[in-house]
Symmetry: D2
Subunit: 199 residues, 4 copies
């Protein structure tokens, strides 16, 4: 079983990302279940604006799309900016939108039988709303969401500490991550054994 | 297999509710899969404000809560007011909140292995956002969401037609409802056969 | 100049409310500008469900509505539950909805020339989203929003400290409250001197 | 008095944009009040990802930022994708974020005394939520919002008509646009005559 994560940080590859730190912790939990996590950063790729599966010359999305389809588990990971999913996360949703009309011979979207998780990090406030936006987008484009499909960390109101500067994952976030991963892996196995029906 | 729906319309029992019409259509689809749907209207019950499982004397929630737990499928159905889930839907979420600390001997919330669906109706605009709010609330309190976990109808911007006054379900809504139900029933069966693990 | 606040806490009058503590601080800031703040708790009133200006026998809304119209400044104050405005806040929005078709001889809604502020408190996460929901609702029903129209406090992710148990307002929240009040009072004065035009 | 609009369509300049059609109508209404509207398309500019006022070499934002500050009225116009503000609109909010720490000698953000409007277009559903997200972002970064600060159009649920293909603005949208503009122009004049105070 494979997992694939898209890190939507605004920071390019050289720069440390709090979202990556949360993904490290998700990766470790996935490892306990024998699942490996591959990941990419949108900021390092030329994902073109648009709502089709392939926006042409130089578009990095088709390869990201293949990685999404190659894995049974998908992690959409984003920082919070202005209380919202960051622009790179919204761009990923816009590109995922093309799955709505991309169905297989069951009449299901090509994403069917894949389980999604959401990871959200910010200095302060916004995780539940970001989760809401991403859950709705992911469900719309055919992903399944296990019980407790989000893990997150934010600091106190108007604080400026970064998650990457904490010494360790706070206990509650660590526990939420572990539960999220255990349930998502279980559900992906259940769907692998019993895929969605023909519509 | 049983399904239980909470209709969050602001209208009391005697009054026709567009949300009920959408629930009728969900009920019919569930019937095709051999699943019966029981339903209640929050507006007809004295569901007390609060965030515990039982708010005491006269609180109708404990019985609603039992019905939620007695069914493998849960439908949260709400009209849109001001672009948001209506106040009765938010009250239901507040009461469901108590499941977060109500875990079974697996360490899972008591709602685990139950699959939720969302049904949203309005004169105009707001369905996706209402879906987002409800998905996040339902995932937080332990429900699982199948691919395409929402069905909805709204009219054109600033329009005033009621769903209950349409001659029939518009084709796209009907198809979305059918897909939602097929996938949710499938997922509930998969989870019945293979419940979430001990945490 | 007068201000009127609706506290949407789920707690009834006898019980201490963090939202009230934030309202105390807003009241103090209003006092520095010579504005007095009257306030009510929805939880202590029988505000009936519905979307009209008067839902009949025993409905407490018509009096709340009069207080809203009697003041130049309106404060909508709510705790966060499940990351959303609490059910009482949504009920207030549903009742305010009636202003959309309640216009004066300028063709403006009766709320025109009134400035709204938003106050949000939670144990953790959700303030910006609650602000977003309330801003949109308040603008839809005719209120004007000054620069920086929200103040808030939330704790770290998944924390359980109550705002009412802090020794004092954290400096950043205090400063945000002071700015919000200064700008709102200014804008209400500007609109009193120069009311919105005939449409 | 000047107005400046940012069109956040995903489409580049050569392609017709429904958002532009709504901006044409806003422009016409502004003209009735003697206000001219300048506009840019984010999709045609290299607005770099980030949250500072200038992200360096080749960043188109500093010039957009100057146009925002040169005008008394700001229009943030966006299509709806996945029920959310599109990624270009979120990028604009991320760049506006820098105003939070960019204050003048009054201690006010440099955006103070500027009035913002929101214009939202989609095939179906999502306008109120997009408005909510943008209102909150705009208020956070110092803009003032007049009564009825949004105009919008969306079609029926799951419909695919584009606003640009309608013969004319539907009457309700036209009226909402006219009211939005009249109130915003009035408020900008009121703030020009009586700017926000020193904090």
């Amino acid at each position: 079983m494979k997992a694939f994560a898209v890190n939507c940080t605004l920071k390019q590859g050289g720069e440390a990302s709090s979202t990556d730190v949360l993904l490290d912790q998700i990766s470790e939990e996935l490892g306990r279940h024998g699942v490996s996590l591959e990941r990419v950063r949108v900021a390092d790729l030329d994902v073109k604006p648009g709502v089709t599966a392939d926006e042409g010359d130089g578009d990095a999305w088709p390869e990201v799309r293949r990685s999404v389809l190659d894995a049974e588990l998908f992690v959409l990971a984003t920082p919070i900016w202005m209380g919202h999913p960051c622009s790179n996360a919204q761009r990923v949703l816009e590109r995922l939108d093309a799955f709505i009309s991309d169905t297989d011979d069951r009449g299901q979207m090509r994403t069917a039988d894949r389980v999604a998780m959401v990871a959200v990090v910010g200095n302060e406030d916004g995780a539940h709303h970001v989760g809401a936006e991403l859950f709705q987008g992911l469900s719309d484009v055919g992903f399944t969401l296990a019980a407790g499909a989000m893990t997150y960390w934010v600091g106190e109101a108007m604080a400026s500490t970064d998650y990457k500067d904490l010494d360790a994952a706070p206990e509650k976030t660590a526990q939420t991550t572990a539960t999220m991963v255990a349930n998502a892996v279980h559900l992906a196995e259940a769907l692998a054994a019993r895929p969605y029906p023909e519509l």
